[in-house]
Amino acid sequence: MKYELLLPAGDLNRLKFACIYGADAVYIGGYNYSLRANANNFSLDEIKEGVEFAHKLNKKVYVTVNMIFHNVDLENLDSYLKELDNINIDSFIVSDFAVIEAIKRLKLKTPFFISTQKSITNLEAVKFYKSLGAYRVVLARECSREDIKNIKENIDTEVEVFIHGAMCTSYSGRCVMSNYVTLRDSNRGGCSQVCRFTFDNNTNHDYAFSSKDLNMIDYISDMMDLKIESYKIEGRMKSLYYIATVANAYRTIMDKKINNTLTNDDIAYYKKVLNRVSNRENISQFYNGNPGVDGQYFTGREEVSNKDFLGLVLSYNEETHEAVVEQRNKFSVGDIVEVFGPNTVVQKFKIEYIINSDNENVDSACHAQEIVKVKIPFKVCENDILRVQIS
């Protein structure tokens, strides 16, 4: 059976990185009608370019049309859906019944599946959406293993589950705190994440109730045994490094599971990698029941910036063993760094020298996005990533 690793992409560049770093499919939003109004998002031309790029690599592109529509938003919906259909996207991700109605009425060839915004938690709900023509459902992040198992064992509709990234405190879609506190419509893409604010509750402590992130790396093997079809990473607003790192980690874990070579050491290593790239704490949330006190933050935002991404390989000369690297965070002569890529297994090396764009030997690469040359004693490829040593 095919297990799909599904990555988010906030723009064309991240779509390409998600694809080359191991995604089987990516989900994106257009300028209109998706739930991440603050992401860069895609024009129709960019969607077309993204679809062509992905299809050449035998990957799929799903487009979110999953906001909750008000009457006024319906005006250009038909033409937008038709344009996406003509672009040959692989699926619509929908939430509002008005979008399902339009897809069916227009007899579009592109299939659709149901967004997590509908908070599907049981088999009966899956049956309902199947009856509407959905070939897949994204389950609520509050589903337990038993919920998922019951669905998987009793229906042939594809199931997609979130395995990594941020979570709402609420059931998805069932929150309008953003509307009331900040006058921004959460269900039309304007969520201001009020659940991450702090409140006064008349105790000696500020009141906060945001969720920690989701991380299912310990349970991927078990989930694959349940024969779940699609494994989704959250984060259309995440960085290119985050996308590449998370894609690479889960791709490796899933492939090793399929090949029966997955070890506890693999899990431990990639858990470390994922913990470093995330800027928030993460746990498996509801998979084994209610996470209780461990599933939340209570002291407001607790995020740290990540400086692991050292550089991006632009080219590599196999004769001189010299790589041209675009710097992202400071690194220095003598540092031990790791490199990984779509076709480059994680390897370490020591920075022996750094040559800047003026052809000068320097001690450090400390200017953002400066182009430098470094010696890498093994073959690397364009778009490989240099990061700090994790293992």
Partner: protein, 268 residues
């Protein structure tokens, strides 16, 4: 003025009080299947009340595997009882003519309402965060039987998490209280967090009241949810049911009836 139909979600079990105001249609939160209310009812209570009143049962939880527990008890309800449901899986269990679909805050346009109508789901609760013109457009463009939270402390959020006891545990606060009033520090808006067995809900602390547009809302089934509303406001609401000025007699907020809401940074 045309006589309106009001459906009452009570905050106590004193039905004589409501009856004295000629109110005889009630929405009763079903014990174990609903969340965030002041009082809950079991099947026997509901069946008994259905012999004297028009009764709807509200189930606003997502049911997970518990949906099969409901399947076992569904036939025990008297046949004249209707069901207002949040979990869409219940569409496969409850007869369509006894069912009102209530997807809190997310049924916001007439095409979605009409799509459901064509599926024989002809009774729906529409979002009450809409502008009055949007509501009128929905009404004018559908044959569906629309329900609308007309006066209520709106539920703004529904979580499966224990948002009160988790906080207390984290800070070692010894308390049996299952509620917190929380004030957002910048906007000064106050919300009410209430925890129950299977999760928590957050309500806005001000009463949404659409009375200013009572006439325009004719032909809608108007729901009055007394949950968390104090006795003084409750008395005023009951005394002034058909008064368009009710919204000015209580601490109410009907901002969204009159203001469009922005959702893209570029629109702000």
């Amino acid at each position: 003025m045309q006589e309106k139909k009001y459906l009452i979600i009570p905050n106590d079990k004193d039905f004589k009080l409501y009856e004295s105001f000629n109110l005889n249609t009630f929405i009763l939160p079903l014990k174990d299947y609903s969340i965030g209310y002041d009082v809950y009812f079991d099947i026997d209570e509901i069946n008994n009340l259905s012999s004297n009143y028009e009764i709807y049962v509200i189930m606003n939880k997502f049911l997970h595997l518990n949906i099969y527990e409901f399947k076992k008890i569904y036939n025990k309800f008297n046949k004249n009882i209707k069901f207002i449901i949040e979990d869409i899986g219940l569409l496969n269990i409850i007869d369509k003519d006894r069912l009102v679909l209530y997807e809190n805050h997310i049924l916001s346009n007439y095409k979605a309402v009409n799509f459901l109508y064509d599926l024989d789901i002809k009774n729906v609760v529409i979002n009450n965060d809409l502008m009055i013109d949007e509501i009128k457009d929905i009404k004018n463009n559908t044959k569906s039987n629309l329900y609308y939270f007309y006066t209520s402390k709106n539920i703004l959020m529904y979580s499966r998490r224990h948002l009160v006891s988790n906080f207390n545990k984290y800070f070692n606060i010894d308390s049996d209280n299952n509620k917190y009033n929380i004030k957002e520090i910048v906007s000064k808006k106050t919300l009410e967090v209430k925890e129950e067995n299977d999760g928590s809900i957050v309500r806005y602390n001000r009463i949404f009241c659409a009375s200013k547009y009572l006439n325009e809302l004719s032909n809608l089934n108007l729901i009055i949810d007394f949950t968390d509303i104090n006795d003084i406001s409750k008395k005023i609401i009951l005394d002034s049911l058909n008064n368009e000025n009710l919204c000015n007699l209580i601490d109410s907020d009907y901002y969204f009836l009159e203001h469009d809401i922005k959702y893209k940074v570029g629109d702000l």
